[in-house]
């Protein structure tokens, strides 16, 4: 049963120390929910980037919400390095579990299927593998002479979070072709979604929309948040705000610039007064 809440109530559902999965930079990133997590001073999050992190993750790190990141990469794309991420890794303020894109997808697919691990080709001989003591290389267990293969333990996040253009009142959510969101929701214990708007129709009533819909079965709570992916873009709704993202990238290069950004763009008036 999906419940309908507001964004701050949605953020309240994610406790300190939770393990959360976040989609990649180019779409469906729940920026307003991320700002909600920062506003309530959430601590010690373990963040799984599926498979690459961007501005949302950099913000969470800079605001002191993160204990550990697992990702194939964290970057601001055309705007360069993610400064809070690189600073926190070098100064060891956070623990970084380096991975590679298909390893994250595969480990989520293991949880999706309810099996404890999955094999994946390639990767053997990489220092990623050498530094992951939770991964195992075994000889072809079926004895068919296929040589060594990597086994990855299933990853089951506590929460998958994302922002979608549309939900219906039954709690179904449109994901279009961003089908990694389905894998993430299938794998996680709970899924929390913000949406641009809620329609009175049922997205599963028509096969065309049903094919791009995540059923309410997997979704615990939904909050309406118009513009909830901004300043990032949202497919078919709005383009990313290049100026706003460049401004963030510049501010985040220094501690004081980042603090100014939090004060101006994230903390509420009351929080600013309290600082």
């Amino acid at each position: 049963m999906t419940t309908f809440l507001d964004v701050s109530e949605l953020a309240d559902l994610i406790p300190n120390g939770a393990h959360i999965a976040i989609p990649p930079e180019y779409s469906f990133v729940p920026m307003e929910l991320v700002r909600g997590l920062i506003r309530r001073y959430t601590k010690n999050l373990s963040v799984l980037c599926v498979p690459i992190g961007g501005m949302a993750v950099d913000l969470l790190i800079g605001a002191g919400c993160v204990k550990q990141i697992e990702a194939a990469a964290v970057s601001l794309g055309e705007n360069g390095l993610a400064p809070r991420f690189t600073d926190a890794v070098v100064s060891k303020k956070i623990k970084m579990k380096d991975s590679t894109c298909p390893a994250i997808h595969t480990a989520l697919q293991a949880s999706e299927k309810g099996v404890p691990f999955m094999p994946l080709g390639g990767i053997i001989g990489s220092d990623i593998q050498a530094h992951r003591d939770d991964w195992r290389v075994v000889d072809d267990p079926l004895g068919n002479g296929n040589g060594p293969i990597l086994l990855l333990p299933a990853i089951q996040p506590d929460f998958t979070i994302f922002h979608s253009p549309l939900a219906d009142r039954a709690g179904n959510v449109w994901v279009g072709r961003r089908r990694e969101l389905l894998t993430m929701a299938h794998a996680a214990k709970q899924t929390l979604v913000t949406v641009e708007r809620i329609t009175d129709g049922n997205l599963l009533a028509n096969e065309q929309t049903a094919a791009g819909t995540m059923p309410a079965l997997y979704i615990n709570a939904i909050a309406e948040a118009e513009g909830g992916a901004k300043p990032l873009g949202l497919t078919d709704c709005y383009e990313r705000d290049g100026d706003a993202i460049r401004y963030y990238a510049a501010q985040a290069k220094t501690d004081s610039g980042f603090d100014d950004y939090l004060a101006q763009h994230i903390y509420t008036n009351t929080q600013q007064a309290a600082q």
Binding site: P51, H105, G121, D127, R240
Partner: protein
């Protein structure tokens, strides 16, 4: 016609893609020049080359989520892919993670992305790293995001075929685990390549000059490819082609 370095590099990369055994090229994160090269090669090949630019929806036909690129590559359906490196060494090991003694890094970079898998599964990996210096082309990388060669017992259908830099084009011989200088870009010399490379390269007696992009290709690139790549890389398209975009 006068051309920019970026346009030369796009032209060199596109020429490597125009071969019958490459029917599908995929382009990953932070790769505007490879993306433009793939789109140019597609135009020059009269649309016979499939191009997948995985970041965002433009020039991306994938419909099964983030895993589809890797599933597709695992089956051998991706024939060419581009990878870069903070450091690249003489055995074609690439480092996308950082410098220093991991995990005690001096400088941290974004991370390995899908390199550790794509290097094993895509038969024609083109290494692309414009900065040609001894801090990039090192004797031994500090961290192996993806190894250039593997022991014979390891399942591997893919690997490096070429390296494009601001100075030259090299090929990679997997058996010898060594790069070979193929051509030096106009205005540069073999000595300059050697001075700025920290590992041994096979240098043939005669090293040709890289072909400059033709007027026809430059016109195509500026008129038709630039607005396409702007959909994925607006900043790059603005800087190089002066294409204005909303984002």
């Amino acid at each position: 016609m006068i051309y920019k370095l970026e346009e030369l590099l796009i032209s060199v990369a596109a020429s490597l893609l125009n071969t019958p055994n490459i029917q599908h090229v995929a382009v990953g994160a932070a790769s505007p020049i490879p993306g433009a090269a793939a789109l140019l090669a597609q135009k020059l090949g009269a649309g016979k080359l499939d191009v997948t630019i995985i970041h965002g929806s433009a020039n991306n036909a994938f419909s099964d989520g983030g895993r589809e690129l890797f599933d597709c590559a695992g089956q051998g359906r991706v024939h060419a892919f581009f990878l870069g490196g903070v450091q690249i060494d003489g055995q074609a090991n690439i480092n996308l993670v950082g410098t220093g003694n991991y995990p005690d890094l001096e400088r941290r970079f974004p991370g390995s992305f899908g390199s550790a898998y794509m290097y094993f599964t895509v038969p024609n990996v083109i290494l692309f790293r414009p900065e040609h210096s001894r801090r990039v082309f090192v004797e031994k990388v500090d961290f192996i995001s993806a190894p250039g060669v593997s022991d014979p017992g390891i399942q591997r259908n893919g690997g490096p075929k070429a390296l494009i830099t601001e100075l030259c084009l090299m090929s990679f011989n997997t058996e010898k685990a060594q790069f070979k200088l193929e051509s030096v870009h106009p205005g540069h010399s073999v000595e300059e390549v050697l001075d700025n490379t920290g590992f041994d390269i096979d240098i043939p007696k005669n090293v040709p000059t890289t072909a400059a992009p033709s007027d026809e290709h430059l016109k195509l690139l500026r008129a038709q490819i630039a607005p396409e790549i702007a959909k994925t890389y607006p900043g790059f398209a603005a800087n190089v082609f002066n294409i204005k975009s909303a984002a």
